[in-house]
Symmetry: C3
């Protein structure tokens, strides 16, 4: 069974903490132990696991990715929709994360949170979650 | 059981859509629901999930990675085989992808395809696929 | 069940081959076939699969990531702990790897090894390993 979460983004580039929503899937399914896979079915949004204690970490990641992959490339991008940088960011950050569940809880490290990475917003995004043994 | 796909590449850097081959594994195994893991057993080739509607997305990804990780580094690379940039690209893009299967179909987003990423071709490459519950 | 490996790092940036430790988990658990997931519960350390035949590949990856994401950014980083580049490197390299097991052995490619990537050491790190069918 696949659980589908709706996430609304508000900026072109944005990291949104979805840890609570993913933990809610685990809790509602009464999953005690296993693997939880988070999958983003988009080509201009990704998922990462990062610190959320200092919200500036997310800001630095967004700014750092923008410096690496500027909106206007040194050579022009060929993709007609003008969101080529978003596609490249997704290729680097990735569209899925695998997490462990134990005693009904996501086994995240002390500083880890799960973030949807919006690179071409604002949009309505979907996040798929699947639990396996 | 591990399914092994053969993929022939034709250029130094190339993104090759392998979605049909992976879906064929799912179909032939009569997998109805579960997880499909795609694994690339190489250190200069990777796998990513990206748009294939406009083939220029793949071109922009190849060109963008080349700008980030030039063949001739600012400082010389130390690896003797002269394919150090390919290794670094693989470290960033990654060697596996996790996908969901429902009703016998890979649950890709509307614009998503699975691509083998060749960074040191042309070569004969292998892609491993495993289905789990 | 989650197996926990302790890894001690000795430099700020370092790639440490943990293949033997992960294979030992598979062997000790008498896992014959399935999936082995390696998970790093940190936000300034990651995991990658790379070549270890020539140790200079690891050096080139560390140096290449440092060129991409310099300690002193073009614009200053906002995160107060001064390890913002480590967080960004983790967002790119990722915190988990999925591997296949067959006949009791990790199905790595000929040149592949599993590396813990330290980006903010030296530290005591933990690596989680889970086996599934």
């Amino acid at each position: 069974m696949i659980f589908r979460l709706a996430v609304e983004t508000h900026q072109r580039d944005e990291l949104i903490d979805i840890t609570c929503q993913v933990q809610n899937v685990v809790t509602d399914a009464a999953a005690h132990e296993g693997i939880c896979t988070v999958y983003v079915p988009h080509t201009t949004a990704a998922v990462t696991i990062q610190e959320n204690d200092d919200p500036n970490v997310a800001v630095d990641i967004i700014d750092g990715l923008d410096r690496l992959i500027p909106v206007k490339g040194v050579l022009p991008y060929k993709h007609i929709e003008e969101n080529a940088p978003a596609h490249l960011k997704v290729a680097l950050v990735g569209t899925s994360e695998t997490l462990f569940v134990e005693e009904g809880k996501l086994q995240l490290g002390r500083w880890q949170s799960i973030f949807l990475c919006e690179f071409d917003g604002p949009r309505q995004r979907e996040v798929l979650v699947k639990l396996s043994a």
